[in-house]
Symmetry: D2
Subunit: 494 residues, 4 copies
């Protein structure tokens, strides 16, 4: 899980990229990085562990000169958390000087790594698929343009070749030093990428001579709204856009047979509710998830077994409100989320304390005492948090606890860029619905139906396909084999 | 605005105090400090600017040894923000060695300062009333106990003398080195203070020999709930409690005619909804504020002028939900709060950017377009934020904007520890209701009635008096003069 | 071992004190602190572990406002190295507000601690004798001045009472908030303290109105020379000087029968050669130590057994040059001192490396090969370093190694503020001269005679007594008992 | 001015490289960097502004894994001081992954930059000639080895091609990821580079299986001495050595007509006296400089005009001792060097203080009063420091001041890696000897003769040529044109 943003402005973009990363912080909180380029081609980069607010110091920001830039927030996967070498952006100086960031996951990294080291003689200094992707692009640019000069057509040709070599999900932003900003999206549009423009007339910007339009490409539309960019369009599956240093936009479809099948998990959990993604309002899709979930609950749970509906804050709130409204049951916020998360300090001679849900949520006993409660969460993955929450509700005095998930059971690995545990850690793996209820310790459990989730997201929109592989096992790219899934499983558990 | 906590444990209390401060972070985010005392009497202290998560480093925490401790979070008042010398706790080494923290505001600082410097020869190194309060207490302890030994009776006598010398609102926690933890509350109980106990049998704690009970005193009950302390009671107005280093509790009423009249603003805005304060659930009082506000809205605004009810997140959410329910109008969350707040870096040669509400809130246009919206906020103080929010609603496409405040107009200074601007900056100062609406740019404005607010807080509880001075100009301590208010006004604007 | 400085200036003194501490850095490199006072009485303090250059950040310096200030560098004694609570200056707020620093060592800390805690009810938060000294002074000021106002006479009375209560060696500087700077020296003048003045007319300083003289008191005269202060005089044994905030100087002899008997070790090793102390040039005293040592060498070592004379850099260089000149033997610098000292990082799973003399010195084999070398050091304490140096000389090819010490054998504990190991770790403890040579592994060893050292320091000067207790066991204060020495020994080895 | 070191060890080399950099710290104090490579090829890098002791934190050191590594200390040239992008090492990932450091200066950077950007399409992100050198080497390795595999022959072929493309002075160390450590020296051997080995049998090192020899290449021999490496030889002018990851050494002469003509300034000032460079002991060459200088002084200054000889510490000490010995005049150290250098803090509203020599040196007036002094310095470049020193001597009471320089007048730019000011700032530029004396304010001035300097360095050694271009204007590489010198001059003053 990552958030990305790129900008071409009429003046320094460092603060604007910083502000955008704050808005994307929910997509990754473990590391962050910014790179900028001056018109001379000189590039600057700062990256660090931790959240945006903590990571960048004044001296970093002052060094990030230039009117072209990009930024990244990152959720570290298991085993890579502490390694600064894994943090984005990545940089290569040959050819041209390129920095690149990426949201997604490549599924043919083993083949690409072998090609890179044995054939292309490019050094990979990390296990990051972003470094791999950058080097594939760099190699294709080198091959394509030599000995011809760089122009948008050559760049798009290189992106086309890159599409042919890499498999998986990817939304990519790169700076080519001295030229401009390149962005492209995988042929299935699995990960989001949206393009915005701020017209030159805007008084708040401007350069002495003749300022052109300002551009942004980023993961979520709220970044545009927040900084007064108008939405141009989403970057199409397989499409590449190139914005030259002086603000001219070029774009081209670079994939052979693109199909839009975005990741359903963006709507379920990852994206901010105030974003519109692939033409679908995330907030409204969550309201519809609640509506459809209400029907399923009504089918399985007697009305009198529920006195009150409560969300697990924050992402399930819209769905829970709709469940309450549709079922005609009182809605209450019995859990309060602790906004301020700190650290656990290890004192000499002390054991590490177990982190518990208690540090994140507080249950107001006045709301639970003597009531049959229906708790709504956006999804259930491992189930360990849900189990503790159910226990907290009981400790606070609930008579009975029904638990409902706005998403179907997660039964398959997610290989397109959402961090999930190994298959064997999924609570729904190899368990029936009643077995899940028993394992979690709730009186009843209700899951969204797969078709209902799809309908909740796509209903009344132009969108007609989704990647829902972690729910139904159908991987849209068509290149995910059993052997690959086994390898992923082995890598995660070793 | 401050949050305070003190603990006497069976082992090191540093991590527990740190965790408690995270839970109190909403009460102050500008500075924080922790002090601890070992059984030998050696004390340790760490304090720093910023939020808890940023302020304490591993080395600080490792130095905070001891099983008695206290901690503080602080909202800096104008002009003192950057001064580390103003940060709490404060320490004096004579007599005994005392560290002290305080939530509230003293109103006779001018007289006390003069006494201290001229008569008691105690040096004040800051303009903090906490340092003053500590030195009054220290002087009284010195006078009271000399040449007699310290015991709970002498301590309570000194607290009684302190009550007689100081005026205003104060909840105080102090450590007397080698003796134990002292806490007391002003004779009107304006600022909150609650006492909790964790029974010795609790397996998670315990010392090799004979562990006693563990104790906590703090601003809000959620700290107790979160760490499995049982509520013993709130410290009564004027009461002092003393917990010896080995866990024995002593308590005494030290004021002459105590009356409970807590600050209404805790319920309106400051406290966390999952706290219970003076026997009143903050969450439920906010629901009742919504209920009563709904009636007032119904009286003044035609039903058909409202299509949707929306809270200004987060604190007005319970009230807004109740308004919607009571009026039978759809409830929607059209504003999304940006959780991650960053910094504005000043680049050489650039002007400072104006901070706008836009950095904190995003308006989802899909929720506003073509609708008559009713926005609910907890209160309106300066009005500058409300004005921007109203404009955001219009920009997002609202047909009309009605604005309602769950609290009455703020017309008078708050002198009991809630930070408020100078009288002339209050939007309700010298304006009629229609003039306020015009100034804010909304179509209609509705304020809670003063009696309704009081009823919302006290209804169905044992509480029968409140400090509502900023709404009605009646200052419960009886010592606030016009001359004092003028002096405060002059101090703030100079 | 510590260095101290205090200043009363016509403008901010923070940078001047910082610069002075750099000049005193050789007297202590483990911790440092600065305190300043504004004319309003507000005091500021910053202290940290490490050397001056590393310890103070820009923000610290900016906070150190005021035209009266003091600073300290500290050599940590065993067991207290890592404790920030032990670092100077110390502060008490009652009476008046006092910060204090001290160079030296008190020998009746056990009695004083008991009095302080049981009778005076003053809390001691460290094991530092500086905190103790400050509280004795504070108590005497409180007693002396109450209820009378503070003036120089009362201050000197309190200093007199302090002299009567404390025993040992001490040079003290303190600020009394709102009044001025106080400095005094123990009745034997064991530790150095010198007073300097910069006349008001000096163009580099000056305030808008009527600037007075600027004053400095400090451990070594080079601080005066370096910053253009003229030497007024050394503070006499037992004398106190008080400089008011507006630059007026008062002074008084506060001891009953003062005698000047300064510590010989300042001349042997501690002081910088360009300082003049008690009227004696340190550099010239070291030249004389060489001269006299040459005679002793000539008596014990045949001339033909020495081809070359070499110093162990840096402090023995003047003595070595004189030895060479007097004996008419070539002088060469065969050892090169590594100026840049770093850290040893402990890698996970690695053992700590032993620090060796090799990291500090390099022997040039071209200078040693085939030669009979005479190595000169200032003194020999533990002998461990000397042993390694002798081995290095042999490894570099020396035919034979004669080792000479410009000081006599150290046979007794030093209790007046020079850090030395426990008696049993002294190489000269319980060993004859030949046994020492054997233990060190040199061919010959020569020590300065006790009388020669005294003559080298005092010859041609007005000085006629010295504390040479670590060489001859005679403790000048007359209060050092066998029982005390045993207690010190036990404290050090436990 | 830079210092470099590379190592191939049997275990982690991070601490050893850190220790070596401390020993090379005198060669550059503005920035430093370390890179290491694991046997897998993964590389790690840390670089920062400031001195070694301050620059590396524990976490940096822990990340520097691997048994192959290199390190750099840097003296920043004007205008680049604050830029982290200029700090070494530099890295390219194509081909193979290479990190590289360099001591020296290239004189055809303009041509190389153009080739690089226009023909080789390699991005240069700094103005550093090190980045340029790395990219030339990378391009030659890419061309040479494609599609053949990398082996020592190919590497040496690429070094040969690199020699042909670049001009100037350079001592280079690089790591090729997964292969080993490469080092080479320019065809005139202008900058130093020495090779050392630690035999496998050494008990302090070793790996479980079969440890090979350990190797070091570095700027100065003292690094070898200090860490028990034996000297293998100096890397010859034009030669390259390659040490594979498993410790096998390969070497080859890669230049067409190499000639040894090392930089004379290493002996005059830059190198540590305990180093042996090109077979010449630096310490002894400085003694000889003193001997010859004495003759010149004797010719020009009457013996009775000199009462005492004094060095300007530290580097002129050996020369000064020899001058004194030869002339039979007393040698005294009248200046004391302040070892601890701090910062000047800029307070709001204050002007920056001028840094003066006074902060670095203290003159002992007892040594100067009433004497005719002869001051010896290693060289005179700008003359500003000399001027202040002469004034200090007069202020301290000197009757007359004769100033002598162990090097001849500096009249020409230095283009081979010693930082010097622009030609117009050289005091000897366009001035006769008497004019220099007048400008400096001394009574007499004496400079070493050019031939004497050459003789002092080469006498009794195998060395017969030197680069002395800054004294005599003859640039040994033969490629330095007037046009180039003008361009350098313009670049420095713009």
């Amino acid at each position: 899980m990552c958030g990305i943003v790129g900008m071409v402005g009429n003046g320094p973009v460092n603060q604007d990229i910083y502000d955008a990363l704050l808005l994307l912080q929910h997509r990754g909180q473990d590391a962050t990085g910014i790179a900028t380029a001056e018109s001379t081609g000189v590039m600057h980069m700062a990256k660090a562990q931790g959240m945006v607010r903590e990571a960048f110091r004044t001296r970093d920001m002052r060094s990030l000169l230039g009117s072209v830039g990009l930024g990244h927030v990152r959720y570290a996967t298991k085993g890579t958390a502490s390694s600064e070498e894994e943090a984005q952006p990545f940089y290569v100086n040959s050819p041209y000087g390129i920095v690149l960031i990426h949201n997604g996951n490549l599924t043919n990294t083993r083949e690409l790594t072998a090609e890179m080291e044995q054939r292309d003689r490019r050094h990979l200094n990390s296990s990051s698929d972003t470094e791999l992707l950058l080097n594939v692009l760099a190699h294709e640019l080198q091959t394509t343009t030599s000995p011809v000069d760089l122009d948008p057509d050559r760049i798009f040709e290189a992106v086309g070749n890159t599409h042919r070599r890499i498999e998986g999900a990817y939304a990519v932003i790169a700076i080519i030093a001295g030229y401009g900003l390149l962005a492209f999206r995988d042929p299935f549009g699995i990960r989001p990428l949206i393009l915005g423009r701020r017209r030159a007339a805007d008084g708040s910007t401007g350069s002495p001579t003749q300022p052109g339009d300002e551009w942004v490409v980023t993961s979520e539309s709220l970044v545009l709204e927040n900084a007064d960019y108008e939405v141009v369009r989403e970057v199409a599956p397989g499409e590449a856009v190139f914005i030259s240093n002086d603000g001219e936009l070029f774009s081209k479809q670079c994939a052979d047979s693109p199909v839009l099948a975005p990741c359903a998990f963006e709507y379920v959990y990852l994206a901010r509710p105030d974003s519109v993604m692939n033409g679908v309002s995330v907030y409204e899709s969550r309201l519809r998830m609640g509506e459809k979930l209400a029907d399923t609950i009504a089918k399985h749970v007697p009305r009198e077994k529920i006195d009150v509906v409560m969300p697990i804050p924050d992402s399930s709130r819209p769905a829970a409100m709709e469940v309450a409204r549709k079922l005609g049951i009182e809605y209450r916020e019995g859990f309060y989320k602790n906004r301020y998360v700190g650290r656990t300090f290890i004192m000499p001679g002390q054991a590490v304390r177990k982190k518990s849900v208690r540090q994140k949520l507080n249950a107001m006993s006045t709301e639970f005492k003597g009531k049959n409660v229906l708790l709504i969460d956006d999804s259930i993955v491992r189930g360990t948090t849900s189990k503790q929450i159910i226990q907290m509700a009981r400790d606070a005095g609930a008579l009975s606890v029904t638990f409902a998930s706005a998403a179907p059971p997660v039964r398959y690995p997610h290989v397109y860029g959402i961090n999930m545990p190994s298959k064997h850690e999924l609570i729904a793996h190899g368990r029936t619905i009643p077995e899940i209820a028993e394992e979690l310790g709730c009186d009843h459990i209700v899951f969204q139906e797969v078709d209902d989730l799809k309908a909740a997201i796509t209903e009344g929109t132009d969108l007609d396909d989704l990647d829902m592989s972690c729910f139904d096992g159908r991987y849209v790219t068509g290149t995910v084999t059993e052997e690959y899934l086994d390898w992923v499983e082995r890598s995660q558990t070793s």
